[in-house]
């Protein structure tokens, strides 16, 4: 019995494809693509204002006695804080320099995380990669004596190498054993801190100090300031911007970047097409680690006192994640995000100094901005803005390899 049957048509409605966080998609107007981040920032500032107002114990006590006066104090407190924030970030030439200065390592580390995302990898280890890069750079910066024109690139290269090894290890582990890089890179952060603490109390320790601090970098290894001695921003900024273009070229104009993006989006299809997923993963983590390593090198080469400590990365490693997310893992987007968050960092310092609002508020603002940008539906709901249906930012495929 020949069972004739008709072939099937494809099913409707069309399947939703898991999509990575992309640049504002095809066909979005510029206006639309700026509205959301602006609203996100605004909302974050409003929430920040509420946090500032309601975390002052004096004001809270006053609230029960004299609500009117309390409200007035809240307003003045918040405006004092935000004025300082603005002043410290954009209010003067020095502020602008400070903003750019803070943006430099954020940009490099942000590119590191973004590159990882593009290859489908969560690089949460920028912190540790910065430390290892900074350490390597310190060795070259302390023990070698060369004219600056050679010494600086060499030291930066050392920074790249240090971070590259640290990131590459996590990549290798993922490629060979399937160990999820979220956990291995986070563990790497802690291991790097302890390692630094040990190393900095042995050979390279600053003579005359008992705590983990390195010796000072030779002058030829220090990054020269860009606008004269009065302003802290160094040529590191130019380097970072150069890398924006380099990473863009890598991702969109090179065959390596093609592989990164393919494997990042669909590793199975990539391997069916002949790509070596293990090599891609390892290489991507290594390059990402190298970028973060250079950010670490920047931290010892670009600011006083030109010494390495286990705290050299500050919060940059984690801020870099928010920078990459805000920039949607796109090199140019990361640039804008780094500038914004650099400005917030500089402003935050002023806010802490002049208005006694702890700089951690900036971290809260950053996290809120990222939440609003990652979940645009929230902003739309709050402001009743119409928009397209939610695009999932799906990247996770579970723990398995």
């Amino acid at each position: 019995m020949t069972d004739t049957r008709l072939p099937e048509k494809e099913p409707t409605p069309p399947q939703r494809s898991p999509m990575m966080d992309r640049v504002t998609g095809v066909g979005t107007s510029v206006a639309r693509s700026l509205v959301l981040p602006t609203l996100a920032m605004l909302t974050a500032l409003i929430i920040g204002a509420i946090i500032i107002a309601f975390s002052d114990i004096e004001i809270l006590r006053l609230l029960f006695d004299d609500p009117g006066a309390a409200a007035g104090q809240m307003v003045s407190e918040v405006s004092r804080a935000y004025r300082a924030l603005f002043r410290g970030s954009l209010g003067s030439v020095n502020s602008l320099s400070e903003s750019l200065f803070a943006a430099t390592p954020l940009l490099l580390a942000g590119l590191s995380v973004a590159l990882g995302f593009r290859a489908g990898l969560f690089n949460i280890g920028a912190q540790g990669q910065m430390l290892m890069g900074g350490l390597a750079a310190t060795y070259v910066g302390v023990y070698v004596s060369l004219p600056g024109i050679i010494h600086i690139p060499l030291t930066l290269l050392a920074g790249f190498a240090g971070g590259m090894i640290w990131g590459g290890l996590a990549g290798l582990l993922k490629a060979r054993t399937g160990a999820h890089e979220v956990i291995t890179t986070i563990m790497g952060n802690f291991i790097a801190v302890f390692f630094m603490q040990w190393v900095l109390t042995t050979g390279i320790q600053d003579p005359g100090r008992n705590n983990p601090v390195s010796a000072e970098l030779v002058t030829s290894a220090r990054l020269p300031r860009l606008f004269g001695v009065d302003y802290r921003v160094t040529i590191g900024l130019l380097l970072a911007i150069a890398f924006v273009f380099a990473v863009h070229w890598l991702l969109y104009q090179s065959s390596i970047g093609f592989e990164f993006r393919a494997v990042g989006s669909n590793p199975k299809a990539g391997s069916y097409a002949g790509m070596n997923v293990a090599i891609v993963v390892t290489l991507a983590m290594a390059l990402a680690g190298g970028l973060a390593g250079m950010a670490g090198a920047n931290q010892v080469m670009g600011l006083e006192p030109y010494k390495a400590t286990p705290a050299l990365a500050g919060a940059v490693g984690f801020d870099a994640i928010t920078v990459a997310l805000l920039g949607r893992s796109n090199p140019v987007g990361v640039l804008w995000a780094a500038l914004l968050f650099g400005a917030l960092a500089a402003g935050g310092r002023e806010m802490q100094g002049a208005a006694q609002v702890p700089i951690d508020l900036v971290v809260v603002l950053q996290a809120l901005i990222v939440i609003f940008v990652a979940a645009p539906g929230m902003i739309r709901a709050i402001y009743r803005v119409k928009g397209r249906e939610e695009k999932p930012t799906q990247m996770t495929t579970g723990w398995g390899s």
Binding site: F190, V362, M395, G398
Partner: protein
């Protein structure tokens, strides 16, 4: 066909992965044996003796201890480890690899302790007791993680939940007492869990990204409030004391007693929670439904189970557990709030969850293993060996990497873990 062929015959063939793992572990064991023999056995004078104290000053039975010749002890241990390693290299009985590794590691640790305590003594029971205490936050973190993942949601934000719980616990306990602190902490954890669930389910934000951002938010918020509020109002950073409850009779058992039955209530609640979650997930209908949502949400949906509601419920419930863990950390272990005081322990909890194969009792066992590595690090540091303390501090983190690298075998996560459920 008369006989019902209801199962396909399964022919399990040896795979190169398991063989390779046996080889690696065999080599590792033999290397460990070399260290034990070379350093621990023959690195001490032949007449040195080590004493492991097995009783605490508070025990009813006093002065129980083991004293033995350090070199002989280590030599014997070394030979045994070598034998285990050599056996692994034969690549038979592959399923026993983990047992061999476990026994080998245990012997190694004992030899290490014997070496570190050569010509002196140390409290083995004290170390075991601090193992249990160190393990609690890890176990609670692992339980939080598996409660979420069994329903298909990956929760990277455990660290943030613990930290926030710690903060709230300290503040409320300082102001209103322990119970307020604990309740507030659990609520805080649940709120963060709700945020994670909301972001992941309602807005389809990638679960890992949502977790990472929640961690950042938690760190920022708690650090901000700590600087702003706690430094001003010092009395809000002085939580009420939580005292140990000694269980009569059981606490008098040598070694086991002080190890398990003389703790703050947090520890007992944790033990009960492990049992409750085990029964809950594997014996009750809520557990069956939750697990179905984590394994095959579409199937659950077609049977009328509300997938999204189950996920919300599990994630928020897990948040309660994490908050409780934060309360323990802040009220019973450290007794104050310090910025970033969790130090990555939430992630170790995630590793413990994977190590424990997403099972409640597995989480407990894994928590003890990780807790032990922390306690060991501390003890060896105190005993003053040549090993730099920083390397010992690294131990739990390195152990985590080793675990997730699969050196202790692979387990399967719930099938729909990490994937958002999109209804058409």
């Amino acid at each position: 066909m008369d006989r019902v062929e209801t199962t396909t015959p399964e022919v399990v063939l040896r795979t190169s992965v398991e063989e390779r793992r046996a080889t690696i572990i065999g080599v590792v064991l033999m290397a460990l044996a070399a260290v034990v023999l070379g350093v621990f056995a023959f690195g001490v004078p032949s007449d040195a003796s080590s004493t492991f104290n097995l009783s605490l000053p508070t025990d009813s039975i006093q002065n129980v201890s083991l004293t033995f010749n350090s070199r002989i002890f280590s030599a014997v241990a070394g030979v045994l480890i070598f034998a285990l390693g050599a056996n692994r290299l034969r690549r038979r009985n592959l399923e026993r690899t983990n047992t061999a590794l476990g026994i080998g590691l245990m012997l190694f640790v004992l030899a290490l302790l014997a070496w570190a305590a050569a010509d002196s003594s140390f409290s083995l029971v004290g170390m075991l007791r601090s193992t249990v205490i160190s393990s609690i936050v890890i176990t609670l973190g692992a339980l939080t993680g598996l409660t979420c993942e069994r329903a298909g949601v990956i929760n990277i934000g455990i660290e943030g939940q613990l930290l926030t719980g710690a903060f709230v616990a300290v503040v409320l306990s300082s102001a209103f007492g322990t119970w307020a602190g604990v309740a507030g902490a659990m609520l805080a954890g649940a709120l963060l869990g709700a945020l994670l669930a909301w972001l992941a389910i309602r807005f389809s934000v990638d679960q890992i990204i949502a977790g990472v951002v929640i961690n950042i938010l938690a760190v920022g918020l708690t650090s901000f409030l700590a600087s702003r509020v706690l430094s001003e109002a010092q009395d809000l950073n002085a939580p009420a004391r939580v005292s140990s409850i000694r269980i009569p009779l059981l606490a008098d058992i040598p070694v086991i007693g002080p190890m398990f039955f003389d703790h703050t209530f947090f520890v007992y609640v944790t033990f009960i929670l492990v049992v409750a979650l085990h029964i809950g997930f594997f014996r009750t209908r809520w557990g069956l439904r939750a697990r179905s949502v984590g394994e095959h949400p579409k199937a659950a949906d077609t049977l009328g189970i509300d997938v999204l509601k189950v996920r919300y419920r599990n994630v928020i419930g897990a948040g309660l557990i994490a908050g409780f863990g934060g309360a323990f950390l802040a009220l019973a272990q450290i007794s104050r709030f310090e910025e970033n005081m969790t130090g990555g322990i939430g992630f170790i909890g995630l590793a413990a969850m994977i190590f424990g194969r997403w099972l409640p009792f597995g989480a407990l066992a894994a928590g003890l293993v990780f807790g032990f590595s922390g306690a060991l690090a501390q003890k060896v540091g105190i005993l003053g060996t040549g090993i730099p303390s920083e390397f010992m501090l690294m131990l739990p983190y390195v152990a985590t990497v080793i675990v997730v690298a699969g050196l202790v075998g692979r387990a399967r996560a719930p099938a729909a873990d990490g994937q958002p459920y999109i209804k058409q």
